[in-house]
Assembly symmetry: C2
């Protein structure tokens, strides 16, 4: 089964670097088109321990539009999960139509592990695989696009990989225990893959020894699957509405409004020294150092059952997304979730404005990173007048109380405002309009927000002054140099964790 | 504090019977108006053990429109709840705008109990009460209508009440333990009530010795609070739109379409003997007997960590709601939830059609009663062509597999189709149009559905034949006589539980 994945395939750095920009831009473009489609895209990532599943998840989150992706890592079941039928936890995690769900671990993990350790008989194993097939077919029948990636490692490669992880303090508790059963694990996995390789939800086995090869291959498989489905969907649409011409999903080029001179920012922000910079060299060195420290600290927090709640706010184009990725790269995917906050759903709209944040709070020992947050109440809702002065006026106290409850419970709460100058924002907006795979990032709304810079600056000022508490401090990040900003954020989190743990 | 609630107030049966119909009709009318309002109504029910809190919840569910009420009983926290800040579980349970949330037990229970048992110092207790006040004020500031009912029992009354509950097998494990601390419990509760009695969320102490008095009083308090708020809301609306006249929330009388002769039902349904009846006397006796047995069995199921999943489907006006109430009357409110299925929310619409049912599955030992269910896929969605023949065609298998998973996990799954004749339906429709507090129950859609009786009968036939499995059987209920139907349902559940436990 896995012989074809032990051929020693690699990709040189040169070929990788040449291929990735195009792959990325195509992936983003396809992802952009998915948004308007009525089907969810489920990517199951499984495979050998140490095969780079977590790293691949990081990479995919980097390549895709993070606002349209949810990543779920399945680990030990909670008591609420154990008290319901086994698939309850998977149903909780399915992506909605128009979104991508990356599942790290899945309905495959439990049957395979139990079968490997002889806790499940062959007949029951077959029944479990039948159930999986039925489940996947059912989702596919309702339109879900499902692909399953199996990352395979030859035995020697797995051993050296686990050693390396161990040195970096990033090994999971069961990894060595599983390694001793390499042959049995391979055999059972092979059975599972053969049994569940269907047209509705095909398996793709990827040789995982070489990082560049496995990432590029995974990216291509995902792109091909999505592109093929989008073509089908377009064709169906064209057929349905034969009178109206079929549209390409690619967005029309955006108009370029005349730039304006903007007033300088409010008083707190005026103290941020935006001239701070890092050289490429210093950046590489410090990034690696901080990420290594963070990786260990995050496991330490897990062992002590301490959770982090990190909030990222900032100007449009200030680099929130890429800064968050530098943080999550250092974290085991099982230990965090990134929650992107956009417009509320109707269920959320029917509740108190804080309700939608409560529902995403992390379990003990894991962390939630909010890409935008409850501060929307005193930023966009204030400036755009979605909230009355009375509403946003009392929100400061409500927010401080909310964060107090988190801190009281032992959560480590930290908030970042990514600050840039209006001039730097303009430069980045223009760049986004010209770089192919960045176009999706800039909208008319960004330009409109920009015109309200002074209003936002005043709101940021109030927010920082009124909600900067010892238990949930604000850090103003000097963001004109992205490298400096990323390292500043990492250092702040590392320091906070070292003080707390 | 509680002296005014020890006056020995009672209400004679005659006065109760005279007052209730009007109260009920006013409550329903007010509840109906709430639907179109943008505020949630939170009713907290607390008080002494054995004071009839559970009974009151039953009564309110009977008096209000069950589709607009969610009842939450807070019991031991799950590990997922313990791993988050304490209020997470309450946020999960807040009603949406336009809905009523009845909270049995609440944010008050834990501080009071811990303080009573000296597990919390006075200063921490005060801080906990401050937090409560802030929380309630915050919800109220966003529009929530909050009232809190405290059911008080004098010591002697509590003792005799607990004895009675014990005889009926309906006593909760901690009740006697708490009784020994009656004086301390009363003192601490008094402190809590004084501390948290605010304009935003006022307390109402109700003398609870006499069932009729406490229910009538609670009903009046709820009605007054809701009516006053609705008036305010109407006045605000009228002021806002001074040009358009303020509308009374009462629905306009419905048109009476011409009745039609309908074909008899499909083949399976044709075998239901609709002539079966019960005399008033036999009904009273059998209802009580079956409810008593059910009450004990439900506690038995809880001890064995077995859950029931009950499904109620049936013709419009077949009496689903009142039949469900006869079942839930026998169940401790902590042990079940009724989930009414109406149109999906947008979050639900963005998922596979089974997703919205998975999310409501009960924890081990507790039960979920679905008032309409996943069978909508093969009933209304089939008949109204919301689902394609291919979709509803494969749904039978999907549903059987879903129920199989529930049964495999140990859930006791049972499904009821409430059957009536077309003639009986017509009679009930007409009655609903004339009885004041039943008018809200009949809509144009009911008349439209009625015209499609033969289509629905065919769909019911297919559904019963294809999804009647040993692990999740269908029971066809003879519903022309409501008394017979209710007892038939209770007997079936009792028998099923006795066989299973």
């Amino acid at each position: 089964m896995f012989k074809n994945a032990e051929l020693g395939r690699t990709l040189t750095e040169a070929r990788y670097d040449a291929a990735i920009p195009k792959l990325r831009s195509s992936l983003l473009n396809a992802h952009f088109q998915l948004r308007n489609q009525k089907f969810p895209f489920i990517i199951v990532i499984s495979g050998a321990d140490g095969a780079g599943k977590g790293e691949l998840v990081h990479r995919l989150n980097e390549w895709l539009d993070p606002r349209g992706v949810s990543t779920f890592a399945f680990w030990d079941a909670s008591d609420e999960e154990r008290e319901r039928p086994a698939y309850w936890r998977f149903w909780r995690s399915l992506p909605a139509r128009g979104r991508i769900g990356i599942l790290l671990g899945s309905w495959y993990t439990d049957p395979i592990i139990r079968r490997v350790f002889h806790k499940m008989k062959g007949r029951k194993f077959d029944a479990a695989l039948d159930r999986i097939t039925a489940f996947e077919k059912m989702l596919a029948a309702e339109g879900a696009l499902i692909i399953k990636l199996w990352l395979h490692l030859p035995k020697a490669a797995q051993k050296s990989r686990l050693r390396k992880l161990e040195r970096e303090g990033r090994i999971a508790p069961d990894d060595w225990k599983h390694f001793k059963l390499y042959e049995r694990f391979t055999k059972i996995s092979g059975q599972a893959l053969r049994h569940t390789d269907t047209l509705a939800a095909p398996w793709h086995i990827i040789e995982a020894t070489d990082r560049r090869y496995r990432e590029h291959t995974a990216g291509r498989i995902i792109l091909n699957a999505l592109t093929a489905r989008l073509k089908l969907a377009d064709a169906a649409k064209a057929k349905a509405a034969a009178t109206t011409p079929s549209k390409s999903g690619k967005p029309a080029p955006l108009p370029v409004p005349k730039p304006r001179t903007l007033k300088p920012a409010g008083s707190v922000l005026a103290h941020v020294n935006l001239k701070q910079k890092l050289t490429e060299e210093a950046y590489d060195q410090q990034l690696e150092e901080q990420q290594t420290r963070l990786a260990k600290l995050v496991w330490g927090a897990y062992e002590k059952k301490r959770s982090m709640v990190l909030v990222f706010e900032g100007w449009d184009a200030a680099g929130k997304g890429s800064a968050i990725r530098r943080v999550t790269q250092a974290m085991d995917p099982r230990l965090y979730r990134v929650v992107g906050i956009a417009a509320p759903t109707d269920e959320e709209r029917a509740q108190h404005y804080l309700w939608r944040f409560w529902r995403h709070l992390p379990r003990a020992g894991t962390s939630t990173i909010f890409d935008r947050s409850w501060y929307g109440r005193v930023l966009v809702e204030r400036v755009e007048k979605f909230a009355t002065p009375e509403q946003w006026g009392r929100a400061y106290e409500e927010i401080v109380d909310f964060e107090h409850q988190l801190a009281d419970h032992g959560n480590i709460v930290h908030k970042f405002w990514l600050h840039i100058s209006p001039e730097e924002q303009l430069r980045r907006f223009k760049e986004r309009q010209t770089v192919d795979y960045k176009q999706y990032k800039i909208t008319d709304e960004d330009w409109r927000n920009r015109e309200k810079w002074p209003d936002y600056a005043r709101a940021v000022d109030d927010m920082v002054v009124r909600c900067n508490t010892p238990f949930a401090p604000w850090t103003l990040v000097a963001g004109n140099d992205k490298k400096f900003a990323r390292v500043q954020i990492l250092k702040t989190i590392v320091q906070r964790l070292e003080e707390t743990l």
